[in-house]
């Protein structure tokens, strides 16, 4: 499902931040196209 895919990552500061998701995605064999970490305050 993830291996070989190109991921657009939208993380959340108060949830799972973008870079943390990216570590998971890269470890699963996918490529990262874009990372952001959103926050409300």
């Amino acid at each position: 499902m993830l291996k070989g895919k190109k991921a657009i990552i939208v993380g959340e500061r108060d949830g799972v931040p973008g870079p943390a998701i990216a570590r998971c995605i890269l470890a699963a064999g996918a490529e990262v196209l874009f990372i952001t970490t959103e926050c409300f305050v």
């Binding site: 499902m1 993830l2 291996k3 070989g4 895919k5 190109k6 991921a7 657009i8 990552i9 939208v10 993380g11 959340e12 108060d14 949830g15 799972v16 931040p17 973008g18 943390a20 998701i21 570590r23 998971c24 995605i25 470890a27 699963a28 064999g29 996918a30 196209l33 874009f34 952001t36 970490t37 959103e38």
Partner: protein
């Protein structure tokens, strides 16, 4: 809004083949709105994705099927704490429904 513009630009450049979206919001209702924005378009009609249906497969990092593809040590360090406070089964149900809705269009 800037993220919407950047994502739209990326999809225009790379196409949709093999592109997926992975979210990390701890609030599931907020994640659903983000998912809707990146699949059928911005529901508030405020951003660049207003009326733009990207139809991208969208996942949440806390879904068990996503977790299953990540080495356990990496996952635990990156998302483990949040996965303990969010109902991951509910996340899985909601995001499966969103993906099914996108593929049926």
């Amino acid at each position: 809004m800037e993220s919407q513009a950047q994502i739209k630009r990326l999809v225009d450049e790379h196409g949709k083949d093999d592109v997926i979206v992975v979210l990390g919001a701890s609030d599931i209702e907020g994640a659903e709105i983000a998912a809707e924005t990146l699949t059928v378009g911005d529901p508030s009609f405020a951003g660049p994705l207003a009326g733009v249906s990207l139809g991208l497969p969208i996942y949440h990092i806390l879904e068990p099927e996503v977790k299953a593809e990540v080495p356990a040590d990496v996952y635990d360090e990156s998302a483990g704490i949040v996965s303990m406070i969010v109902d991951t089964d509910e996340v899985s149900r909601k995001f499966k429904a969103i993906r099914e809705n996108v593929t049926s269009e």
